[in-house]
């Protein structure tokens, strides 16, 4: 007897197949010398590669121009882990790092029923340069008077299927509702001179937009330098990103508040996630230009927008400061989100550290789920059915727990005790393996680091290793699924 298939499963199957069939796949020639993206570079492989040599397969006439694909560039950008299959809890905790985090934006108010469960922060080089170049054209009065956001990136002409075709600059373009704010904004996309161009417009008609775009001229043969401002048009160039990463640093922080449901699933319980960013020396950001299209503009150019689909209030400052207050589609109303946003203020490093310690105490106070003695330390999984945290109890020392919560059955965390960096991992599936980082994809799980110890408690399998000096990054393997730990993000 075949198992009963529920209607939703059938619906999912039909949907995935329809979407897969819908996408136009055009296999280009294979180029063995093609530079791989960061996502591929991150895959360790325990075999010795053969020389890549030069192999080009002419399977289709269409050449793939993939100079700077979205994946390659996006992969270079630093992002937040959304709690996938495995979780790495981490926060920058070294004294040297703390001295540089004065001025982090942090909320000073949150609803009474929500509790702070994560405080993390990191410093990174400025990311003001987006993917390609972005330019904002508009009339000074605001979006009601018309604005066009142009995004230029290298590409291969991947245009939407099923969109309304129109002609822009003598080229067939497709018109679709914009991904964000589709009710008010439309996007024209076309392929011109090896670049994909998309132009999202609001407060201005299609005809006028096309006429404006038709009148634009490129600044140079390098299309990523963008369009020249029109001398006679009435849409001014209001701002643009830098085509190359500018100097400066970005200080970003994340604060996660949950109600008693302790869930991160969209729509479950009440959730509040606050992301703040301060930037120095990076110039105008991609984020600022995009937000400008849909935002209310306050004094000093501060933009505020609200996305009712997710429940997100977002503020952008021209100087690179940025703030999201995100309800993750849960029942937190806009007024509350705004109140949280209003409460955000720059805090000193010491205040941030205090917040983190409070979270650590809270996290460490969760029920013990499983533990194992490994060498001279004890690893503990604490949490509930909805979350888990991996803590380290050094012999004779104080228990260390991360200032973050994870929602998965595989966890890894780095801990620094004295001068030793411990890599710890636990899984309710396979026994984790901590290995040296290697550059490509494995066909077998790599060798564990010398001195790795493993133990099992119930369904949980623990691994702990003191990472040899000189290694700043290790890979953690759950079967053939890999994540990594960095010493700079270890808990102390």
């Amino acid at each position: 007897m075949s198992p009963r298939r529920e209607p939703m499963a059938t619906r999912v199957r039909s949907t995935l197949r329809a979407k897969a069939d819908q996408v136009t796949v055009r296999p280009g020639p294979f180029d063995a010398d093609r530079p791989v993206t960061r996502a591929a570079e991150a895959m360790p492989l325990s075999l010795t590669p053969r020389s890549r040599g030069r192999l080009v397969l002419g399977i289709a006439a269409v050449a793939v121009v993939a100079v700077l694909g979205a994946a390659a560039v996006v992969a270079l950008r630093r992002g937040s882990d959304d709690g996938g299959t495995t979780s790495t809890a981490a926060s920058t905790t070294t004294t040297e790092a703390e001295s540089g985090v004065d001025g982090v934006l942090a909320p000073s108010w949150s609803p009474d029923d929500l509790t702070l469960w994560a405080v993390t922060w990191e410093q990174s080089p400025s990311d003001s340069a987006g993917i390609g170049l972005e330019q904002l054209f508009g009339r000074g009065g605001g979006t009601a008077d018309g604005a066009v956001h142009v995004w230029i990136q290298y590409g291969e002409g991947g245009l939407p299927v099923g969109a309304s075709p129109t002609t822009v600059r003598g080229i067939q373009a497709d018109l679709v509702p914009a991904k964000e704010f589709p009710d008010t904004t439309s996007t024209l996309s076309w392929y011109e001179d090896d670049v994909n161009v998309s132009a999202s417009f609001v407060g201005i008609g299609l005809e006028e937009t096309v006429a404006f775009l038709d009148g634009l001229t490129w600044r140079s043969d390098d299309r990523l330098v963008g369009f020249a401002p029109q001398s006679s048009g009435d849409l001014d160039l209001l701002g643009e990103t830098s085509p190359a990463p500018a100097g400066g640093t970005v200080l970003s922080a994340r604060f996660l508040y949950l109600d008693a449901a302790l869930s991160l699933a969209p729509g479950e319980g009440r959730q509040l996630e606050v992301h703040t960013t301060t930037a120095t020396g990076g110039g105008i950001s991609s984020s600022y230009l995009r937000t400008w299209l849909h935002a209310d503009r306050g004094e000093d150019g501060v933009l505020e927008s609200y996305d009712p689909r997710y429940g997100t209030v977002r503020r952008d400052w021209p100087d690179g400061r940025r703030l999201w207050v995100d309800a993750n589609a849960t029942a937190v109303d806009r007024a509350t989100l705004v109140r949280v946003a209003d409460s955000v203020e720059a805090v000193a490093a010491g205040e941030l550290t205090q917040l983190r310690e409070a979270v650590r105490d809270r996290v460490g106070g969760q029920d013990l789920v499983a533990s194992a003695e490994l060498g001279d330390a004890r690893l503990e999984v604490r949490g509930t059915s909805a979350m888990a945290i991996l803590c380290l109890q050094p012999a004779g020392g104080t228990r260390i727990c991360p200032a973050d919560v994870a929602f998965g059955s595989s966890l890894s965390t780095g801990f620094v005790v004295g001068d030793t960096w411990y890599a710890a991992a636990v899984s309710s599936g396979v026994t984790p393996v901590v290995s040296r980082p290697s550059p490509a994809l494995p066909v077998t799980v790599p060798e564990p680091l010398p001195g790795s110890e493993a133990a099992t408690s119930g369904e949980w399998s623990f691994t702990l290793v003191a990472v040899p000096a000189g290694l700043d990054t290790v890979d953690v393997w759950y079967g053939l699924h890999q994540t990594n730990l960095q010493r700079s993000q270890a808990e102390e």
């Binding site: 529920e6 897969a20 591929a40 890549r52 994946a71 959304d82 991904k179 729509g267």
Partner: protein
């Protein structure tokens, strides 16, 4: 053991694998990352890696799928929230069938790990055990994620 639901093909050339698998692997990648451009990037990367190790890989079709799933997960993890929401400027657009479009949108709002499980289970038709091997978790976890994903979807589409 690597994920592979296909029998090894002896003496198959890289060229043949490329020709036969490119499209299917790209479609799988697309379902995971929801961008055709990114999907093609990841697929090309997977083939470059496969080419380097082709002599040692017994089951190229399975190896490619393993590679592209893992790269997709890496890619997903490195995106920040903003990029995830803005990605897909070149999405193929609506299917034109409201029920399927609603479901596609709802799947996109699930936690990433649940999306991945749904794609592997209902598009690639992999067993719970095969998915568990690929993702490095237990089959019970895969079953649980699948159940929860379907429950999330039921809630989402019935709003």
């Amino acid at each position: 053991m690597l994920l592979d639901r296909r029998a090894p093909v002896p003496e198959v050339s890289f060229e043949v694998v490329y020709e036969e698998e490119y499209e299917a692997v790209t479609r799988l990648a697309y379902l995971l990352v929801r961008s055709r451009e990114v999907a093609e990037e990841l697929t090309q990367d997977a083939f470059v890696r496969l080419y380097e190790y082709f002599d040692a890989v017994v089951t190229p079709a399975g190896w490619l799928r393993t590679a592209v799933v893992r790269m997709a997960i890496t890619w997903q993890r490195r995106q920040d929230l903003e990029r995830r929401r803005l990605a897909g400027t070149f999405d193929p657009g609506a299917l034109g069938e409201p029920e399927l479009d609603e479901t596609w949108t709802a799947i996109g709002r699930l936690r990433q790990e649940r999306q991945t499980v749904l794609v592997l289970r209902f598009y690639e038709d992999l067993s719970h055990r095969a998915i568990a091997e690929l993702l490095g978790c237990s089959a019970a976890t895969v079953r649980s994620r699948t159940r929860r994903a379907l429950a999330d979807l039921r809630r989402e589409v019935s709003r």
